[in-house]
Symmetry: C2
Subunit: 252 residues, 2 copies
DNA sequence: CGCGTCCTTGAACCGCGTCAAGCCAGGTGG
DNA sequence: CCACCTGGCTTGACGCGGTTCAAGGACGCG
């Protein structure tokens, strides 16, 4: 993330979408001139809500949820500082997704008109974003298929790596910079709480992780990677998107 | 698909992306001035190939495949006349996907430069496409999670509905306009051949479909829909994208 | 006719979801 | 200070769904 700079408006770190962009979110944010705060556990938007713009996360952690089959809550995506959530689709379609603050979170709401104008003034930005989404879509479609073949063990190992990727690790004790309940981990991995616990203790026995209450220390990241992609390593076997080289744009 | 028109170049039906588009694929195709033919079973591109443009399907049927975990071949998507495949991502990244003609197929190759130019000349087109991809991405992410919860029975019922959506039904005998092997159905649904056979005979016993060798007649479509979304009907429980109202853009 | 390819069915194994019960920590009240 | 409660964590037992293996049909083709 060497491309990070400080946002002129909020003075937080902001990611470029990629190097093509001559306009970046900063300008759009300073245009919008508004800020919202959400407490831990509070809904930013609920499933079924219509969203007339997008939210830029200035500081905080957010989970995007969707009630799945059997009314099981599932976490579709995690987002942190610098990511964008709630991007509307065409025709103001609504989708059954909601967003909840995982901790106290500060947002900037970007109205559709502002976003539209910014895009119209800069075809290159739009083109880059289009390519980005197109590329993400392809990856997600492949992942979708791979996910269906993964064992629960692989899914949970992958979830841990995803958490590392998104939240990062504490530099002092090497623990994940996020405290999630077993339930939430299960909702990310798409399994039951019990199964999460069993695999976590397995991982601990195999010296891959260390459990400290809710805190989890990734002791052997390579070992986890080997579990996720046991057969052919350089494929898109991971079930979660990784940030790309040029900086990362969080979606949904 | 009332928006269909004849392509000025190839004289085939061409879909609009959506009503925002003042430039459509037709113009781009007539610019490209090339045509390619592929025989049934022939590779259009292979996993790992670099693709420097995209292919417009002028006539035919194509499957997009990806070798999944355990070296299992999986069908990621199906595409027919009027769809676009092989859209590159940023930085000429390659993805482990390949495309194979399901029957004799006629394509038009659109060079990246031509596509780029067309997009630059028309920000509205680019914006529409970006919104489209963004919207598809969101749907796919939700679907990805739902897919993980579906039973094999649901997945196979959904696969049949997907085949109906993509290929359509024969107007005389009501059979699917595509003859796939059980193996291929399994690769779409993400399961084993045996399971496909078992569910198909189940469906036949329950008067939902009629098997005629490889041909399949969807006898009770509503019944199949009920299997796919038994719990809450109006959700994105389907595991496959449906064409949207404004016409349909095939991706990948 | 033999052979290959695909379809079909049966049987065995096992991953994992579910239920039920016990455990531990923090909070509350007497 | 202990007793109690509550919510999340943990473990064991059970059963179902689905993958896998193995064997037998159906059909087309040389």
């Amino acid at each position: 993330m060497e491309d990070n700079i400080n946002c002129a408006y909020c003075n937080n770190k902001v990611c470029f979408i990629n190097q093509h962009c001559s306009v970046n979110w900063m300008n759009i944010i300073s245009e919008a001139k508004n800020q919202l705060w959400y407490k831990k556990g509070q809904y930013i938007f609920r499933e079924g809500d219509r969203i007339f713009g997008l939210y830029f996360i200035e500081r905080g952690k957010v989970k995007i949820i969707s009630t799945g089959l059997n009314n099981k809550e599932q976490i579709v995506r995690l987002a942190v500082t610098g990511h964008v959530i709630g991007h509307r689709g065409e025709n103001h379609e609504t989708y059954p997704i909601g967003a909840v603050a995982l901790e106290d979170t500060q947002l900037c709401f970007l109205d559709n008109d502002i976003v539209y104008e910014a895009f119209m003034n800069n075809p290159n930005l739009t083109f880059s974003l289009m390519m980005f989404y197109s590329s993400e879509l392809r990856k997600t479609e492949i992942r979708e298929r791979h996910l269906a073949q993964m064992s629960i063990r692989e899914k949970i190992a992958d979830t841990l790596l995803y958490l590392k990727e998104i939240f990062g690790m504490n530099s002092t004790d090497g623990s994940l910079n996020a405290v999630l309940s077993r339930q939430e981990i299960a909702e990310i991995a798409g399994t039951s709480v019990e199964q999460v616990i069993r695999e976590l203790t397995d991982f601990e026995n195999e010296k891959l992780i260390i459990k400290q209450g809710r805190k989890i220390i990734l002791f052997d990241v390579d070992g986890l990677v080997r579990i996720v992609a046991p057969h052919n390593k350089n494929r898109y076997s991971s079930a979660w998107p990784r940030p790309n080289r040029n900086g990362f744009l969080g979606k949904q």
